[in-house]
C-alpha cells in the first residue's frame, strides 16, 4: 500500500512536470517567434521623419483569394509614390498580411500590425466579417481603419469614428437598382435572390425603400459556401419561377449569379435579371466555362440583364483612368506586367491613389486625427476613377455612394476570358447616387474626375 501511493505520487509528479515543460515551450516559442517590438516613436506611431508604415489584412489565400490582386496593386501605387519622393518626404511602407478571410486570423494579424509592425493606419483591408472583428480594437487604440473594401453600412458609425468603408454601401446598391426596377418594370411581379448575410440584408433594405412591398412575390436566399454552390440552386430558382416573378433582383456574388443564370436556363425560366454591383463586373460573372462561348452556355438569360458599377471597367481601354492605371501598374506590379490588368487591380490602384492623396492632404505634421480631419475636409476633391466623388465627411464614413447602370448585351463588344468570350456591357442612363439612409436616388451630372497631370506624367 505504501508502495502504491509512492508510485502514484511520483507518476503524478512526472505528469505535472511535463505540464511545466509545456509552459516552458510556450515561452521559448513565443520568445523565438519574434523579437521585441520596435520602440514606438514618441510622437505618432508608425511615422518617422522618413517613413510611414501602413498595414492591411487581405485574403491572399482561402475562399476569397480571388481578391488577392487588390492589395499588391495598392502597394504598387505606393512604390510609384516612393519613387517620386514619397509623401511629404516620407516613404510609404505597406505590410500586407494574409488573413485567409478568417476573422480570428484577422484579429491576430491586426494585433501584429499594430503591436509589432507599429503601423500608423490600417488601409484597404478587405471583408465585412474580418474587418468587423478588428473594428473595436483599432478604434479603441485610435488606429485609423480606412478605405475598407466592403459595402457594409457598419463602417459609418459614430461608435467607431476611426473606421471608414470604400465600396458603395450595399444599401445604396439596392436603392439604385430598386429605383430602376420601380421606374422601368412597374406593375411587374418582382423576386429577390440574395446572399444570406449582411450583404443580402443590406441590399434588401435598399431595395425595399424603392420597390413596393406588394409587388415582391418571392424572396429566395443562398449561403455563400462551396457546399451550397455544389448543391445548386434548383429549389430557389424553381420557387421564383413558381411565384411568377418576371423580374429577379440578385444580390449575389459572381459565381452564384452565373449559377443562377444557368439553372434558370435549364428550367426554362426567363425573367429580367437585375444584378447588384457586387457582381457588376461581367468578366467575373462570365468566368465559369458554362457561361462563355462556345456554347452550350447561360449567356442567353444574361443578355439584357441590368448591372451596376461605380467606375470604369478595365477593358474600357479608352478611359483615361484605365489607361493611367494600366501604365503605372505595368511598371510597379509584376502581376499586371505579366497578365494585364484586372478589375480588382483597378480597384487596388484607385485605393492606393486615394490613400496617397489622403496622406498628402494630412500634411507634413502627420497624426492619426490629422489624417481623418484632412480626409473629411478634402476627401471630395481626391481625384479618382469613380463616377461619383469620394464621399467621406466628418459624419459619413463611406467611400462611394453612386453607381452607373449597365445592360449586358450580346451586341456590345465581347470580353475575352480564359474560358472563352463573354458579352460586354453598354451604359444605361445617367450615374445615380444616394445615401444608405432615407433620401431619394438622384442623378449625378458631373463627369468622371480628370486624371491629374502629376499622375499621368509620372506613371
Amino acid at each position: 500500500m505504501k508502495r502504491f501511493s509512492l508510485h502514484s505520487a511520483r507518476r503524478r509528479a512526472r505528469l505535472y512536470a511535463t505540464g511545466v515543460v509545456a509552459c516552458a515551450v510556450v515561452g521559448t516559442m513565443a520568445l523565438t517567434a519574434s523579437g521585441p517590438a520596435n520602440a514606438a516613436s514618441v510622437s505618432t506611431p508608425g511615422v518617422t521623419a522618413t517613413s510611414i508604415s501602413l498595414g492591411a489584412t487581405e485574403p491572399l489565400t482561402g475562399v476569397a483569394a480571388n481578391y488577392n490582386d487588390i492589395a499588391p496593386a495598392m502597394k504598387a501605387v505606393f512604390a510609384w509614390a516612393n519613387a517620386h519622393g514619397g509623401v511629404n518626404g516620407r516613404q510609404i511602407n505597406l505590410t500586407i498580411d494574409d488573413d485567409q478571410y478568417t476573422p480570428s486570423i484577422t484579429a491576430t494579424m491586426t494585433h501584429q500590425l499594430v503591436l509589432q509592425n507599429n503601423i500608423f493606419a490600417d488601409v484597404g483591408s478587405l471583408g465585412t466579417p474580418t474587418q468587423l472583428q478588428v473594428q473595436p480594437y483599432l478604434n479603441g487604440l485610435k488606429v485609423p481603419q480606412l478605405f475598407i473594401l466592403s459595402g457594409c453600412n457598419c463602417w459609418s458609425s459614430s461608435k467607431y469614428p476611426y473606421s471608414s468603408g470604400l465600396q458603395t454601401p450595399y444599401t445604396v446598391d439596392g436603392k439604385i437598382l430598386g429605383s430602376y426596377v420601380a421606374k422601368n418594370f412597374s406593375g411587374e411581379k418582382v423576386g429577390y435572390f440574395t446572399q444570406d448575410d449582411e450583404f443580402g440584408f443590406d441590399a434588401i433594405k435598399g431595395l425595399n425603400m424603392e420597390i413596393k412591398g406588394s409587388s415582391v412575390v418571392s424572396k429566395q436566399t443562398y449561403v455563400a459556401s462551396t457546399a451550397a454552390y455544389v448543391a445548386g440552386l434548383q429549389s430557389q430558382v424553381a420557387a421564383l419561377q413558381a411565384s411568377g416573378a418576371k423580374v429577379v433582383v440578385l444580390a449575389a456574388i459572381p459565381p452564384f449569379v452565373g449559377l443562377f443564370a444557368t439553372t434558370a436556363a435549364t428550367l426554362g425560366y426567363t425573367p429580367q435579371l437585375v444584378i447588384d454591383g457586387v457582381a457588376g463586373d461581367p468578366s467575373a460573372i462570365g468566368a465559369p466555362a458554362a457561361l462563355t462561348t462556345p456554347a452550350p452556355n447561360g449567356q442567353a438569360l444574361l443578355n439584357g440583364a441590368i448591372t451596376e458599377a461605380g467606375g470604369a471597367f478595365e477593358d474600357q481601354t479608352s478611359n483615361p483612368w484605365v489607361r493611367v492605371a494600366t501604365k503605372l501598374l505595368t511598371k510597379y506590379d509584376s502581376e499586371v506586367a505579366k497578365n494585364g490588368i484586372t478589375g480588382d487591380e483597378l480597384t487596388g490602384f484607385n485605393l492606393g491613389y486615394l490613400v496617397y492623396q489622403a496622406l498628402k492632404a494630412a500634411g507634413k505634421n502627420l497624426t492619426r486625427q490629422g489624417l481623418l480631419n484632412a480626409i473629411a475636409a478634402d476627401g471630395k476633391n481626391f481625384a479618382n476613377s469613380g463616377f461619383v466623388p469620394y464621399s467621406y465627411s466628418s459624419t459619413v464614413h463611406f467611400g462611394f455612394e453612386g453607381e452607373q447602370l449597365y445592360k449586358m448585351s450580346a451586341t456590345a463588344t465581347p470580353i475575352t476570358l480564359p474560358t472563352g468570350t463573354f458579352m460586354g456591357v453598354t451604359p444605361v442612363g445617367p450615374v445615380y447616387y444616394t445615401s444608405p439612409g432615407a433620401g431619394p436616388v438622384k442623378v449625378w451630372h458631373s463627369a468622371q474626375d480628370k486624371v491629374p497631370a502629376s499622375l499621368s506624367s509620372t506613371a
Partner: protein, 269 residues
C-alpha cells in the same frame, strides 16, 4: 448484524414481455438476509431480465417488488445502492479507464457526501472523504486478495481478477442484498472453489441472489433454488428437491443435472 427475518427481497408475480416475447411470466421469489438463493435455467430463460427488473432497468407489466418491507416502484438503477442492493453484471462491467482501486472506490458513490463545491475547490471535506473511501477500497481489495493490483487498469488483468474487482465494487456500498449474474463464468476450477467460499462468506452480512450456469457451484452453495424456463418458475426449493423434479430435467433436455453431492470441495474430480 444480519437483517430481521422479515427483511430481504420479495418478488411477487412479475410479468414482463418484450414485443411478443414474454420474458417473465408471473415470477415470484424471495431472498432473505443470510440466505443464498440461486436462479437457474437455460439460456434466454429470463434470469438477467429478472435482475433488470429488480434494478429498475426494466419495468414490469404487473407484479410487485418489495425490499425490506418497502415496495420498489419507479425506482432508478442509481437509487439501488443507497437502498442496499448491489449487483454485478453478466460480463464484468468494469471501467477500463479507471484503475482497479478507482473502480472499487466508485462503488461507494452512494455513501459519499462531499458536494460539488468542495470537490471543485479541493476542500478537506472532499479530500478527507476520498482518503477514507480509498482506505476502505484497499482494505476490501486486501480481503479479496487482489490488493497488489490496486493501481492497475482492470481490462489488462486476468479475468478472475476482474471478476473479483467487480465483486469488490459491488460490496463497497455495504449492501443488504447482492445480485450476482454469472459470477463463475470464465473461471477455472480452482478459482471456482474460491468463489464458492467467498459467496458463502457473504452470507453472514447479506442476502445473495445468484444466477449461475455452473451447476456444481449452484448446487453446493445455494440454500434454495428457483428454476426458470421460458420466463416461468418451473420449480423451486432446496437443491435436492429441485434436482429430483422431472420438469427440471425436461427443461435441461440433454443436459445432465449434476448430483447434489458433488460440492465445491470436490469439484476438481
Amino acid at each position: 448484524m444480519t437483517n430481521s427475518e422479515t427483511g430481504g427481497l420479495v418478488v411477487n408475480e412479475i410479468t414482463v414481455s418484450f414485443g411478443g416475447l414474454t420474458a417473465l411470466d408471473g415470477v415470484s421469489l424471495s431472498v432473505h438476509a443470510g440466505e443464498v438463493v440461486g436462479v437457474i435455467g437455460p439460456n434466454g430463460a429470463g434470469k438477467t431480465t429478472l435482475f433488470n427488473i429488480v434494478c429498475g432497468f426494466v419495468r414490469p407489466e404487473s407484479g410487485t417488488i418489495v425490499f425490506n418491507g418497502k415496495q420498489l416502484r419507479r425506482h432508478q438503477p442509481h437509487d439501488l445502492a443507497k437502498a442496499g442492493i448491489s449487483r454485478t453484471l453478466q460480463g464484468v462491467g468494469l471501467w477500463g479507464g479507471l484503475t482497479v482501486v478507482d473502480n472499487v472506490m466508485a462503488g461507494a458513490q452512494s455513501t459519499a457526501r462531499a458536494d460539488f463545491a468542495s470537490a471543485l475547490f479541493g476542500l478537506w471535506r472532499s479530500s478527507r472523504e476520498e482518503s477514507r473511501i480509498r482506505q476502505r477500497a484497499l482494505e476490501l481489495l486486501g480481503e479479496l486478495r487482489i490488493a497488489e493490483y490496486a493501481n492497475r487498469y482492470p481490462l489488462t488483468l486476468p479475468y478472475a481478477i476482474q471478476k473479483r474487482t467487480a465483486l469488490a465494487r459491488a460490496l463497497m456500498c455495504e449492501p443488504n442484498l447482492i445480485l450476482l449474474d454469472e459470477p463463475a463464468s470464465g473461471l477455472s476450477e480452482a478459482e471456482l472453489q474460491e468463489l464458492g467460499k467467498l459467496i458463502i462468506g457473504l452470507r453472514d452480512k447479506m442476502g445473495v441472489l445468484l444466477v449461475e450456469h455452473h451447476m456444481d457451484l449452484v448446487m453446493s452453495i445455494c440454500d434454495r433454488l428457483v428454476v426458470l424456463n421460458f420466463g416461468r418458475v418451473i420449480a423451486s426449493g432446496s437443491p435436492a428437491e429441485v434436482q429430483a423434479n422431472p420438469d427440471v430435467t425436461t427443461a435441461y433436455l440433454g443436459q445432465d443435472i449434476p448430483t447434489v453431492d458433488s460440492p465445491v470441495a470436490n469439484a476438481g474430480s
